[in-house]
């Protein structure tokens, strides 16, 4: 009887431990973190502060993203070629800008207008990725006079294969 009780407790504890562990590993250290992936990322891409990559909106200097937006718009609207497909929704490309203004670790997320995951035709997504990677130098952002690494994202609003708007 004692053995059965001990066994039950051990099984219970191991299940409980397993659940706690699953919960702990469900999240990145910070939401939206992008770890290095040797299959897709450049191993030579260097970060100044790999453990504290900031968010794009963390900077209060005059060099805010809004000032950079016309340039981003001009690059995409000049380069993107509409694909005549009935595909509409949002495509987010999130990436890291390092302390030198270089970019890498591009990750793509897409949805339809019902906020459901969606796979866009590659002629749309590859094009967007190719254009975003063609921008070789991004804004360098500073904290306390030091250049920092940060996460940036762009959201592309697509209607019937046509690029309509760019956010944020």
């Amino acid at each position: 009887m004692r053995n059965i009780l001990a066994g039950t407790i051990i099984v219970f504890l191991s299940i409980a431990g397993c659940q706690a562990s699953q919960q702990a590993t469900q999240y990145e250290k910070r939401i939206g973190d992008i770890d290095f992936d040797p299959k897709s990322d450049d191993k030579n891409f260097e970060l100044c502060y790999p453990n504290t990559i900031q968010q794009y909106f963390a900077f209060t200097s005059d060099k805010c993203f809004t000032d950079y937006k016309p340039y981003i718009d001009s690059v995409f609207f000049a380069s993107y070629r509409s694909i005549p497909l009935k595909e509409s929704g949002l495509i987010r490309i999130r990436f890291v800008v390092n302390c030198k203004g270089q970019t890498d670790r591009f990750r793509l997320l897409a949805m339809n207008m019902r906020y459901e995951p969606m796979r866009f035709n590659k002629r749309i997504t590859s094009q967007l990725l190719s254009i975003i990677k063609s921008i070789k130098v991004w804004q360098v952002q500073m904290v306390n006079g030091q250049p920092v690494d940060y996460y940036q994202y762009l959201i592309f609003k697509i209607r019937n294969g046509q690029l309509i708007e760019i956010l944020p």
Binding site: E28, G32, R92, L109, I155
Partner: protein
């Protein structure tokens, strides 16, 4: 009356990014009270994006699965990182469990972060059936009626947008910082340059913006009064240099004119 008081208590908490837990006790809702207490000082301890922040809210939601504030707070980091899919799942739960508190917020986010004009209008329309005062977007830039007008304009329904916005402005108190600017920009899109200029002048009286002068410059050009157009453009550039321009933290204003 009791319901109004509770909403006020919750909204009072919202301004400081935290509900007042005692409001739940007042409603005899001990589960929400316990969940709320668990995360009471969380903003002082953990960053919104952190794993610890998310996990503590998860624990609160185990205590009270209908703790709408928990879903809403968990959604914020996803919103700010552009993860529309996870954000929507979480904010929908917040709306499900406390529609009045969260519907306007969801509407504003749909507009602000994802330019989901149809979705924002649908949420605002629904909210209007539930309360006579639908309130402002969370960053305080626009009343949700103004947000709705902007959305209609972006959908190409300029006349409807003008009707909503000008009717609102007749009795608005207070007028938002950028309301006349948006009215001017919508008139401009509709090619009604006289009314557009009038709205931009009101904007300048109310709260001077570089962009309002930039639009006026374009209007004077259309009327072939180049010297006035140049004056307005110079004024716009000077104000821009002084930092008197449209500002928004996470995204950009609709109808922003870059010059």
């Amino acid at each position: 009356m009791k319901k109004t008081l509770i909403i006020l208590l919750l909204l009072a908490g919202k301004l400081s990014a935290q509900p007042v837990c005692n409001a739940f006790l007042y409603m005899n809702d001990t589960l929400q009270y316990k969940a709320c207490k668990l995360v009471e000082d969380i903003d002082e301890k953990y960053y919104q994006f952190s794993k610890e922040f998310q996990m503590l809210y998860d624990s609160a939601l185990v205590i009270c699965p209908y703790f709408s504030w928990g879903y809403r707070e968990k959604s914020v980091a996803y919103l700010k990182s552009g993860d529309f899919i996870t954000w929507k799942k979480l904010i929908d739960k917040a709306v499900l469990y406390d529609t009045l508190l969260n519907l306007g917020y969801r509407a504003w986010c749909r507009y602000e972060f994802f330019r989901d004009y149809e979705g924002a209008i649908a949420d605002i329309d629904l909210l209007e059936t539930k309360t006579p005062e639908i309130g402002w977007g969370i960053n305080g830039n626009y009343h949700l009626t103004v947000t709705k007008a902007i959305c209609y304009s972006e959908l190409g329904q300029g006349a409807k947008a003008i009707d909503i916005l000008s009717t609102y402005l007749q009795k608005a108190h207070p007028v938002g910082l950028y309301d006349y600017y948006q009215l001017g920009a919508i008139y401009f899109k509709n090619k009604d340059y006289t009314r557009s200029a009038s709205a931009f002048r009101k904007q300048i009286e109310h709260h001077e913006l570089a962009e309002a002068h930039s639009y006026l410059s374009l209007i004077y050009k259309k009327f072939h009064t180049d010297s006035l157009a140049n004056q307005e453009l110079q004024q716009a550039r000077q104000l821009k240099a002084e930092g008197k321009k449209l500002r928004m933290v996470y995204t950009h204003h609709s109808n922003t004119i870059f010059f």
